[in-house]
Symmetry: C3
Subunit: 349 residues, 3 copies
C-alpha cells in the first residue's frame, strides 16, 4: 500500500506542511530508527505527542511526522508535517490503514484442518493448518482462523473475525463480528463452579454460554468462562488485554477496556466505557457503573455507583487514596508525637 | 436423560410441592429464560437461593423450582417446588446428574494421535485428534483426552480423568483418578529455579515430579511446576481455578480451593480445606494451616497457624484489617487533629 | 552420566571428606527419599543449606551430601561430604552437569512438521511433531523445538535454544542463543494498543518486534508483546517465571529476574540485575534503575532511581513499608487515644 502525504492529510483531517506528493508506504518510530542507525525510513511516517524542541529530527532519514499544533509554528524546513489536534489518534488511524486486521477475501482451507461435517463454513474464509471445527458450529464469511485454532461444538464465529494460533472457543460460544482473539485465548471455558459442604466441594456443572459483541478484542491467554447457567457477556467494542480472567456470568459493558492480569470473579457486572487497570481484582456479584476507571492493582470490595477514578484495596476515589498514602508516610512519627503529648499531659495534670 | 420431579425429590432428599410426575430434562436459570424471552423451559428445573417475594415466576415457562424452606409457605399455585435446606447444593446435585463429567465407555483413538509404542493405554479410553502420548506413560481406563492433549514421558493419568484441549502433562507427572484438567492447563512445568551469584543466574535443573490426588480440578491455563527435587503435591478434592501459578515443591492440602490468578511461590504449604481467594500471593517457604480462608489479593508474609479468615498484605485476621481500613479514612484528618493539639499545648505551656 | 565424588569435588571446587571413588549418577533430595522410603539413592548426591544437627542423614540410603562449612567439623563417619561455601550454588552446578539443557546434536525433523519452503533450518536441529515454521524464519543450529511449536513469519531462533510444546513465536521476533522458552509461552504477541476517543477505542496496529538476548529463560504461559513500533527487549541472562505479562516496548535489563504473575505495562524500563517479585505490577512508562528488588505484590507508581529493596503499593523502601505496617496495627487505638487527649484538653482549658 502507498499513499501520498497529501492523501493521508485528507484521510485524517490534518493540516499539511511540506511535500504533499511524498510517497508514504508505512509507519515507524523515527527515534528508534535513528538510535539503531537503521537504513530506510524515507517513505515512513512517524509521530510525536509533544512539540519537537530540538533538531534531532532534522538529521533523521524519516521525512514526515504527525505533530501536535505548535504554539510558535516551530516546524523546520526540509521536512514535512501533518499537524493534528490528537497526534496519537491520528497516527493510529494512519497505521490502521497500512495494517488493517486480516480478512479472508478468498477461501483457503488447509488440508490438515478437521472440520465436522455438520459445521457451516461461509465463504470466503481462511482456516489454517490443524484447526478443528466442531459439530454444528458456524464460521462466518471473511473469518481468518490461523493455525491450530480449536472451535468446539455449537459455536458461532461472526463475520470477519480473526482467531490467532491456539485460540480455543468452546461449547455454544457466540463470537460477534470483527472480533480479534489473541493467541492462546480461551473462550467458553469450564469455570470454577463448586459448592462446599462438610469440608468437600461438589462440582456445579457449567452449562451456560459466552456471547461477545462486535469489534471485541481479547488478548493472549485470556480466559472467559461460560456461564453456569445463562450467559457470560462481553459487549461490543470491549478490549481485553492478555492473561485476564473473566468468570462465569460476568458482563463487561460496551467499549470498556481491561488490562492484563485483571480478574473478574463470578457475576461481576462492569458498565460501559470503564477502564480497568492491570491486576485489578473483583470479588464477584459486584456492580460497577459506567465510566469508572480503576487504577492498577485495585480491589473494589463493594459496588461502585458513581463514575470517576478509583484506586486501592479497598478501592476509594483516587484523591482520597492519595491523601491516605501521603499520610501513611507520617504515621510512624505520628505515633511518637501522640505518645509525647500523652506524656506531657501526664506530667502536667 | 429424564427424571420425574418426584424422582429428583427423592434423589436429593427434598420436599416436593406440586406435580410429582412432571418430566424434567435439564436445568436452567429461569430468570434468564424469562428476560430473554426464550422458548422452551417447560421441562427444565430452576433454583432460587432466597424466597420468591414477587409473582415473577408465575408467568415463566419454567414449571419447577428448587427453593429454600419458606417461613410462611409462600409457594404459589400452578407451579411445582422442591423445598431444600440448601438450594444451591441441591441444584448442583441435580445438575451433576444431567451433566456428569465425561467418561470413556468405549475406546476411540483418533487416527492423528501419536502414541509412543512404550505407552500403556488402558481400555476403554478416548484419545482425540492430534494428541501426543510420550514414552512409558500410562493412560487409565475411562479417561477422555480431548483434542491436542500432550502427555510427556513417564506420566500416569488416573482412571476416568478428563483432559481438555491443549492440556500439557510433562515429565513423570502422576495425575490421580477423576481429575478434570481445563483447557491449556500445564502440569509438570519446568519451574523458576535459579540461584544468583555475582549478578548472574545459574539454572537449577528441575528434576522432581507433580502428584495430584483423586477428584482434583485444575483450571484453564493454570501452571503447576514440577519439584526441583522430590514432589509438588496437589491433594485429593482440590479445586484450582484458571491462571493460577503453583511453583515447585508446593503442597496444596486436600479439599482446598484456589481462585484465579493466585500465585504460590516455591515450597508453599497450604493445609486442608483452605479457601484461597483470587490474586492471593504466597512468597514461598510458608506454611498455612488447615481451614484458613484468605480473601482476594491478600499476601501473607509469614506462616498462618490459626484457622480463620484473613485479608490484606500483609494478611491479618479480617476483622483487624477491616478496623484498620476504616481507621485509614480518618488518618489524614487525624494528622491535622494532632497538629492542633500540639499547637494548643505550645501556646499554653 | 557418571562421575566419582572426587571428580565432582574438583569440578565445583569443594573440599572432599570421605570416599573419593564413590560413583555418582544423579542428584536428589535425601529427606524426600527417606520420608517416602524410596529404594535407591546410593549413587545420588544430596545437599543441605544448613549444618546437619541430628543423625537423620546417617540412616539414609544416600551416601554423599554437599554441606556448608561446619564450625566444629560435625561430619559423621560412614558418609561422604563435599564442603562448600555456597551449597545451593554448588548443588546447582552439579545438577546442571547431570541435567544440561537439551541441545540438538543430530537432525531430526518430524514428518508432521510444516516448514515453509523459504525458512532456513540450520543443522543439526530437532523439530518435533506438528511444529509450524513460517516464511523466511531461521532456526539456528542446535535448537530443539519440541512438539506443537509455532514459529510465525520473519523470526529468528538463536543457536541451541529450546522451545517447549505449544510455544508461539510471532512476527519478526528475534530470539537469542541458548534461550529456554517454557510450554505455552507466547513471544511477539499483538499487544493492547488502543486509543480512546468519544467513548470508543481505536486499535493501534502493533508492528514492532521482540528481541531477546542470549541465555534468556521465559516461563510457561508468559506473554511478551511485540512493540507498537520499534522493539520490546529482554536482555541477556534474564529469567522470567510463568504467567508474566510484558507489554509492548518494555525493556528488561540484563540478568534481571521476574517472578510469576508480574505485569509490565507498556514502555516499562527495568534495569540490570533487578529482582521483581510475584504479582508486582508496573503501570507503564516507568524507569527502574539497576539492582532494584521489588517484593511480591508491590506496585511502584513512579520511577525508582536508587538501588535497594522496595515493597508495597505504592512501593517504598522496604524498611519504611515495614514501619508503616507495624504502625498500622496501632492506628485504630491511636484514634481513640487522640480522642481522649482532645476530650481532656476540652474539659480542662
Amino acid at each position: 500500500m502507498e499513499w501520498t502525504l497529501g492523501e493521508i492529510a485528507e484521510q485524517i483531517g490534518a493540516e499539511l506542511h511540506g511535500d504533499a506528493g511524498l510517497a508514504i508506504r508505512g509507519v515507524c518510530d523515527w527515534r528508534w530508527i535513528r538510535e539503531k542507525g537503521l537504513s530506510g525510513g524515507e517513505d515512513l511516517l512517524g509521530w510525536e505527542a509533544r512539540p519537537l524542541t530540538d533538531g534531532s529530527f532534522l538529521d533523521s532519514a524519516v521525512q514526515a511526522l504527525i505533530v501536535p499544533r505548535l504554539p510558535d509554528g516551530g516546524l523546520r524546513e526540509g521536512k514535512s508535517y501533518l499537524v493534528s489536534q490528537d497526534p496519537r489518534y491520528a497516527f493510529a488511524e494512519v497505521a490502521g490503514r497500512f495494517h488493517p486486521l486480516p480478512r479472508a477475501t478468498e477461501t483457503r482451507i488447509h488440508e490438515t484442518a478437521v472440520i465436522d461435517e455438520s459445521a457451516i463454513i461461509e465463504e470466503p474464509v481462511q482456516i489454517g493448518a490443524r484447526c478443528v471445527i466442531g459439530a454444528r458450529s458456524r464460521i462466518g464469511r471473511g473469518c481468518v482462523l490461523e493455525a491450530q485454532v480449536h472451535v468446539g461444538v455449537d459455536c458461532v464465529i461472526g463475520e470477519d473475525s480473526v482467531l490467532e494460533p491456539f485460540v480455543v472457543v468452546l461449547e455454544g460460544t457466540r463470537v460477534g463480528r470483527r472480533n480479534h482473539l489473541g493467541t492462546g485465548a480461551k473462550i467458553g471455558v469450564t469455570g470454577f463452579g463448586n459448592v462446599p459442604r462438610d469440608g468437600r466441594f461438589l462440582r456445579i456443572p457449567q452449562v451456560g454460554i459466552v456471547i461477545t459483541g462486535d469489534d471485541v478484542q481479547i488478548g493472549a491467554h485470556t480466559c472467559v468462562d461460560r456461564a453456569a447457567l445463562g450467559e457470560t457477556r462481553i459487549e461490543e467494542g470491549v478490549r481485553v488485554d492478555n492473561l485476564v480472567q473473566i468468570a462465569h456470568n460476568c458482563r463487561v459493558g460496551a467499549h470498556s477496556g481491561i488490562a492484563a492480569l485483571a480478574g473478574l470473579a463470578g457475576s461481576t457486572d462492569i458498565g460501559e466505557q470503564c477502564m480497568i487497570g492491570g491486576q485489578v481484582g473483583f470479588r464477584g456479584h459486584q456492580t460497577i457503573c459506567a465510566r469508572v476507571a480503576l487504577m492498577g492493582q485495585s480491589g473494589p470490595v463493594s459496588n461502585i455507583t458513581e463514575p470517576g477514578i478509583y484506586f486501592g484495596t479497598p478501592a476509594r476515589p483516587v484523591k482520597e487514596t492519595h491523601r491516605i498514602t501521603v499520610a501513611l508516610a507520617r504515621l510512624p512519627r505520628l505515633l511518637r508525637r501522640v505518645r509525647a503529648l500523652e506524656a506531657r499531659l501526664e506530667q502536667d495534670p
